[in-house]
Homo-oligomer: 272 residues x 2
DNA sequence: GGTCACTCTCCAGTTTGGGGAGAGTCAACA
DNA sequence: TGTTGACTCTCCCCAAACTGGAGAGTGACC
């Protein structure tokens, strides 16, 4: 019979942890002196202690270990743990890539480092207008016209603003700077009257999109695109939908300074 | 100016998290109504919110993010995080291998599954006797003789028993069942008189050893060795020292039943 | 009997928020 | 103007797997 300190040395489990495992019902001392409260362990408990340590080193939480020791759902628990760990490997690799990305921009002494985020895009009801424009400069003339057209056809159409979502979706497979095939969209609360060019549609949700916020004039958007595409590639992700450019702050509310404009780039991705 | 619920939707950060980030000094609302206590965020805070989300997705704890936002130690923090994540990848891969090992033994319906553990072996002062024996059966005759010899030379030699550590180290590169080159060792409190065959020495610490507890007669030890070697190989670890067989319970204290005997196998390893 | 190492129980803290109670606020609608 | 419903506030408790410390009791040795 060993006292807790000795058993702790034998198993390399701290005294605190041994007491914790007792409270959790994992490893009850062979004998507890009812007068002093001293715990006494026997060598025949070493295999169980080892089993606990081994399962902890596999990353099992205590509740699962309790079940495994009791012989319940053993295969199921191991299979679940395997898939949990497999996900964890992928996730950690992704984090590593992102950190390396940040380190690259630090090393290159770039003045802006892009904060790229993975998130879900919920499904959304929009009015949309697809068209081919000559150049990016056309946006400033074309888009206001769409706004006029839709509100003429639907005087009391209600665009959602909780939050607002107004974006252009790029239908070209890759970057172009002329004859750009775009679809202008704005989230609305409900469908309205369509016109020849403008229709209503539900854009389905996207499970994962790589997103980056760009602050400043549109002329610098290409750097953000560059960083975002590089990030996606480095993370071995695959583009799974058309990129969107969501306009948050712009000439309509921050006309005094292009530097305050905010645009979010969103690219649906999958792990393949 | 957006209220917290809207800002939460825009950033995909929960309200709870936004309040938490405020308490932590990461993201202070642009304006707080002193009467109602309502928090109001502005769109110009979106980039900061993004930055926080992005860094959290990289696995940074809040304290580090606070420093990064403040522009302190940026490069250092990223480098540290990189090495932390690199370790984590290795560790998770190891866990995955171990879980797969368990699953193998479940799938093969083996009656015993071995609980393999990585641990440190501290340095230890021992008396030791190296010899070549014909077969494993010789242990039972040879070892008692060593015990007699050492206590004849050192009548009041004190073997440590906090905890006791008595083992055989195998000097053959691989498994043999005859002419086995072994070194019998037992931990002692201090050096004593040496004999022709028995000397005192300090065995250096081992940073990592893969260990398994074997319960039962010595004839079944080979299965434990098999499992242990397979585990080491699957984990892409490299043997970094001679295997040890540590005798915990045996004929000396559990003479009534071989099934109660406990032996721990210890193999020093490195990640290469 | 004194000393020292060991052990006991109980409480607090770690991290990143989640859940809920009870109360106050805002905007719209009748 | 009153009411309703959605939102928000603060405050408190909870998680996981322990670690650290306080204050008190125990065991062994000199």
């Amino acid at each position: 019979m060993y006292r807790i300190g000795l058993f702790s040395k034998m198993t390399k489990v701290t005294i605190k942890a041994l007491r914790f495992y007792e409270a959790e019902g994992l490893l009850i001392p062979d004998y507890i002196d009812s007068e002093s409260g001293y715990r006494y362990y026997s060598s025949s408990q070493l295999p169980l202690a080892y089993r606990i340590v081994s399962l902890r080193q596999c990353g099992f939480p205590v509740a699962q270990i309790r079940q495994i020791i009791a012989g319940k759902n053993i295969a199921k628990l191991f299979v679940e743990q395997r898939s949990k760990l497999e996900e964890e490997v992928v996730e950690t690799a992704r984090r590593l890539t992102s950190v390396n990305h940040y380190l690259d921009s630090v090393a290159n002494a770039e003045n802006t480092s892009y904060d790229i985020v993975l998130k879900e895009l919920p499904s959304v009801l929009v009015y949309s207008c697809r068209m081919v424009v000559d150049s990016y400069d056309d946006y400033f003339t074309v888009i206001p016209k769409i706004g006029e057209e839709i509100s003429r056809a639907n005087p009391d159409l209600c665009c959602v603003d909780d939050p607002p979502y107004c974006f252009i979706m790029y239908h070209d497979g890759e970057y172009r700077d002329q004859e750009i095939d775009i679809e202008f969209c704005e989230a609305v609360a409900s469908r309205g009257k369509e016109t020849e060019r403008i229709s209503f549609k539900e854009i389905p949700a996207v499970k994962q999109a790589a997103c980056v916020m760009h602050k400043g004039p549109y002329s610098a958007l290409s750097y953000a695109y560059g960083a975002l595409f590089r990030w996606i590639e480095d993370n071995k992700l695959i583009m799974a939908g058309n990129p969107r450019e969501s306009y948050i702050d712009g000439i309509w509310n921050k006309s005094h300074s292009e530097n305050e404009w905010l645009t979010e780039l969103q690219i649906p991705v999958t792990t393949g």
